[in-house]
């Protein structure tokens, strides 16, 4: 069973083709970096994989089930462009809400555990509107990892994180990969991403230009893939 199977997925916004017949299989335990210039279709593809948008053509299976299946959604962790937490609720209220939504047996304990792991336990009762940008990002990370997801979909997860938060996210991702989870992340921060990535995929103007194992060259030269398979 593949963790993610996108079959000939296309997405049109009006006449504009944001994705064109993208076919992608991702094996369980893989860390795939989804690369591409701005407007290449990375976010559109991640939104379709997360079940937030339906493809105009083609189909998506997550963990052997259709993308909008409740069982598969229960096993996905998502970090999108927004942090996905409520400003007027406290950190503990936000995480407890999502723990309930995901059906965790003891929502408050799970929330407290993740606040501690993301070093937000001292501000657990503070409202999110009082948080710094870095604290908000860490809370978003806690929300995404709260239910030990089997598949993590991350859209630019390293953006606006400080070095401590990047190290924390990398360690959480490494731990998730170690227990067999699959990670798909779109990113422009290649150095951070390449440390974890086992595979890379490159989108060019909505088309999949390359997908495969991460070339060794990318560890020392992150721009290698763009030069080799991307547009000149």
């Amino acid at each position: 069973m593949t963790a993610v199977r996108a079959s000939a997925v296309s997405k049109f916004f009006g006449d504009y083709p944001a994705l064109r017949a993208v076919t992608l299989d991702v094996a369980p335990g893989t860390c795939l970096s989804l690369l591409g210039r701005n407007g290449a279709g990375k976010t559109t593809l991640l939104r379709i994989l997360a079940g937030l948008s339906t493809p105009s053509e083609g189909s998506v299976e997550l963990l052997g089930k259709p993308a909008r299946n409740a069982e598969s959604r229960a096993r996905i962790g998502l970090i999108g462009h927004g942090i996905g937490v409520y400003e007027e609720l406290s950190a503990i209220e936000n995480l407890t809400l999502f723990a309930r939504v995901y059906g965790l047996p003891d929502p408050r304990s799970a929330a407290l555990e993740w606040l501690e792991r993301t070093q937000l336990d001292r501000v657990k009762d503070s409202y999110v509107r009082e948080f710094s940008r870095g604290m908000r990002q860490r809370l978003a990370v806690a929300r995404a990892f709260l239910h030990d997801p089997a598949l993590l979909l991350l859209d630019e997860p390293f953006t606006s994180l400080d070095d401590r938060a990047i190290a924390l996210l990398q360690s959480l991702l490494a731990a998730s990969l170690a227990r067999g989870a699959t990670v798909i992340m779109s990113t422009h921060q290649l150095r951070e991403a390449m440390e974890l990535s086992t595979h890379v995929a490159l989108l060019v103007r909505g088309k999949l230009a390359h997908a495969g194992e991460r070339p060794a060259e990318m560890l020392t030269d992150p721009g290698w893939l763009y030069r080799t398979y991307g547009e000149s």
């Binding site: 079940g51 937030l52 339906t54 909008r68 996905i76 998502l78 937490v85 995901y102």
Partner: protein, 228 residues
């Protein structure tokens, strides 16, 4: 089923907690409703109790519908900051549970507006509205649920529109006409001190039918509305 109810309760509690903290829509809706009631008390002839009773249902339900739009507009738009709607839609919450949780929160807030407005109406217009309180409460619960269901679905439908504050009332009021007509007719009857009887039952049945049909449609279609 247990999971569905747990998710519904979590969404309803979250919306009510957010509203209690910010008081964004409840303050606006209550103030707006009271101002309209006060303004109409200047316009209408308060010395004519028959005329006042005859238009009591129409006045009250137009106030509730207009004030309700302020609450319903916020229902899904409160999910926009930080892309919270994406986090919920990507979670195992079904569209139906998300809709129902939000509808319960909106229903509660609308009932609070009505609970404030009814005594104010009684004082301003010198009307005794408690004569058939149990039946009046039943009519209000049924009609308010109907307004809530329509408003919550269209709140989801218009959430990503720039002119949603304008679009929502434009779309929901025509849809609410059957429920509003029934509520106005029955409320006028009950405030006039008459019991529901004879042909008036058709309006009561209309309210029940409206709620059942539109709740079923909303539960079935809201998933399509949320994921495009």
């Amino acid at each position: 089923m247990h999971g569905f109810l747990r998710q519904t309760a979590a969404i309803a509690a979250k919306d009510l907690r957010s509203e209690i903290r910010t008081k964004e829509s409840i303050n606006a809706a209550v103030s707006f409703a009271l101002v309209i009631l006060v303004l109409f008390s200047f316009v209408l002839d308060l010395a004519d109790p028959e005329m006042l009773r005859a238009m009591s249902g129409g006045l009250l339900w137009l106030v509730f519908a207009f004030a309700g739009a302020l609450i319903l507009n916020r229902s899904f738009s409160r999910e926009l900051p930080n892309d919270c709607l994406d986090a919920l839609v990507a979670s195992p919450v079904s569209g139906a549970a998300l809709f129902l949780g939000k509808a319960i929160a909106n229903f509660t807030l609308l009932l609070i507006v009505e609970a404030v407005c009814l005594p104010a109406f009684g004082i301003l217009y010198n009307q005794r509205w408690t004569g058939h309180l149990a039946w009046l409460a039943a009519v209000m619960l049924l009609a308010t649920w109907g307004i809530t269901v329509i408003g919550t679905v269209f709140s989801a439908l218009t959430v990503n529109l720039r002119l949603r504050e304008l679009m929502l009332p434009t779309l929901i009021y025509p849809m609410m006409i059957p429920a509003l007509m029934a509520a106005m007719k029955l409320t006028t009857l009950l405030i006039s001190g008459e019991a529901i009887g004879g042909e008036d039952w058709i309006w009561f049945r209309l309210l029940i039918g409206f709620d059942i049909i539109f709740t079923s449609l909303a539960l079935a279609l809201v998933e399509v509305v949320l994921v495009s």
